[in-house]
């Protein structure tokens, strides 16, 4: 079985935690900040962080179009929290000039669960993840307001969609990389392996 090479977009955010989770899920993990580094990976994780900052840096450093092309080419992408915002086709409660890559036909509401005082942990059942619920760490987290017909809802919390997949693009409102439980990363590594 081949070992996929998976990048973590390293413009800003919790990059190191994703690199560790991927390495412990049988992938070669490396940070990606430049277009030529994107050419060398089979899949990409967009980490948690500040989505406005990440989006601005992607524009300034010429990463936005290469990232969009990466998604269009059907390469697997997994976004957590700010990363979920980055792969949304549309946003609510965002600055008008905030660019996203798109990839999932959904509308995502930024900071939907509230400010830091409302950040929380809860057990989340995720379709396709065996072995019981995952530890959901939600930090100023977004939720998915609505999805198109091609989008599979993988998890909800209090009636709000918090994990989705469309084709090779996966997104969660929460941060599996902050826990020792790498089952969601395993799922993503499998998605990448299936494209090789």
């Amino acid at each position: 079985m081949s070992t996929p090479t998976i990048g973590v977009l390293a413009l800003q955010g919790d990059v190191r935690e994703h690199l560790t989770a991927l390495a412990e899920s049988d992938a070669l993990a490396r940070p990606v900040r430049r277009p030529e580094e994107l050419d060398e990976v089979d899949g990409l994780v967009i980490p948690g962080g500040e989505s406005t900052t990440m989006s601005k840096l992607a524009v300034v450093f010429g990463m936005l179009e290469p990232l969009r092309a990466f998604v269009r080419a059907g390469k697997p992408v997994y976004g957590t929290c700010a990363g979920m915002i980055m792969v949304a086709d549309k946003l609510l409660d965002a600055r008008e000039d905030q660019e996203t890559l798109g990839g999932i036909d959904m509308i995502v509401r930024r900071n939907a669960f509230g400010r830091q005082n409302e950040s929380f942990e809860a057990a989340i059942d995720v379709t396709g993840i065996p072995g019981g619920p995952v530890e959901g760490v939600f930090i100023r987290a977004p939720w998915v307001e609505s999805v198109g017909g091609a989008v599979e809802v993988l998890a909800t919390y209090n009636g709000h969609t918090v994990a989705v997949r469309q084709g090779n693009v996966l997104a969660t409102s929460f941060h599996p990389e902050l826990t020792g439980d790498h089952r969601v990363h395993h799922l993503f590594v499998d998605m990448v392996r299936n494209t090789l």
Binding site: L11, R33, G49, E50, V60, A94, Q116, S119, A123, T156
Partner: protein, 303 residues
Amino acid sequence: MSSTPTTPQNPETGTARVKRGMAEQLKGGVIMDVVTPEEAKIAEDAGAVAVMALERVPADIRKDGGVARMSDPDMIDGIIDAVSIPVMAKSRIGHFVEAQVLQSLGVDYIDESEVLTPADEVNHSDKWAFTTPFVCGATNLGEALRRIAEGAAMIRSKGEAGTGNVVEAVRHLRQIKAEIAKLRGCDNNELFAAAKELRAPYELVKEVAELGKLPVVLFSAGGVATPADAALMRQLGAEGVFVGSGIFKSGDPAKRAAAIVKATTFYDDPKVIADVSRNLGEAMVGINCDTLPEAERYANRGW
């Protein structure tokens, strides 16, 4: 939708993981001091990961003298309304009521800061008592671990705020990194004595020895004025930077703020740092730290 699993309804807020995890999300970023909603917008436009709302930047606190306190809640509300990025605010050391007020205003992080005049010369605030996470300054590893023991979820090296001089920031960060490296070399017998020497809880000392890093995110603060300063702190091991007076006391704040953000991301690429450093206008004038009287050294506040 009907086949989608539903989940337990037992959310837990204010856990160590969501407090420390919040700081993890700020890594690789720049947190900027702002005193008005307009400055907060400039910071957000420039790509700041968060803003620190305060009444006066440290350079002005130095100039004006007097007692520096928590900001007016109206001003903090105005800044929270103006931006969508996280908003931090400062309480005085040991002034847990100011911290309670900041928590009730909904700020995302509280900085128990030596830049304000300390309210208690013995005790820092019990930060475990809060849902809102705290960041605290430190000049060395023992100080950092004492703050973590009190519940701090993020540490910043102190530097010397409001000077525009990076020398103290470098000293404090190097000190913390050197002491961590020394712990790495200790065997289990030596860790007990190390904890005593550091005046820090043994469990935290052991954890640092095993991890080779603090158990929380480490940023740098106090004196960063240029893109190269920010990149220097990153190369020395800071996971991000706070910039106070350096931006809004410079000639072209918007441009300098954006340049510092870019240099913080590409901290190891001198070509990028050179590019963003061109034509930034006047940097803040700056103060030589060795001419500062002891009483005006903020880094000595807190212990």
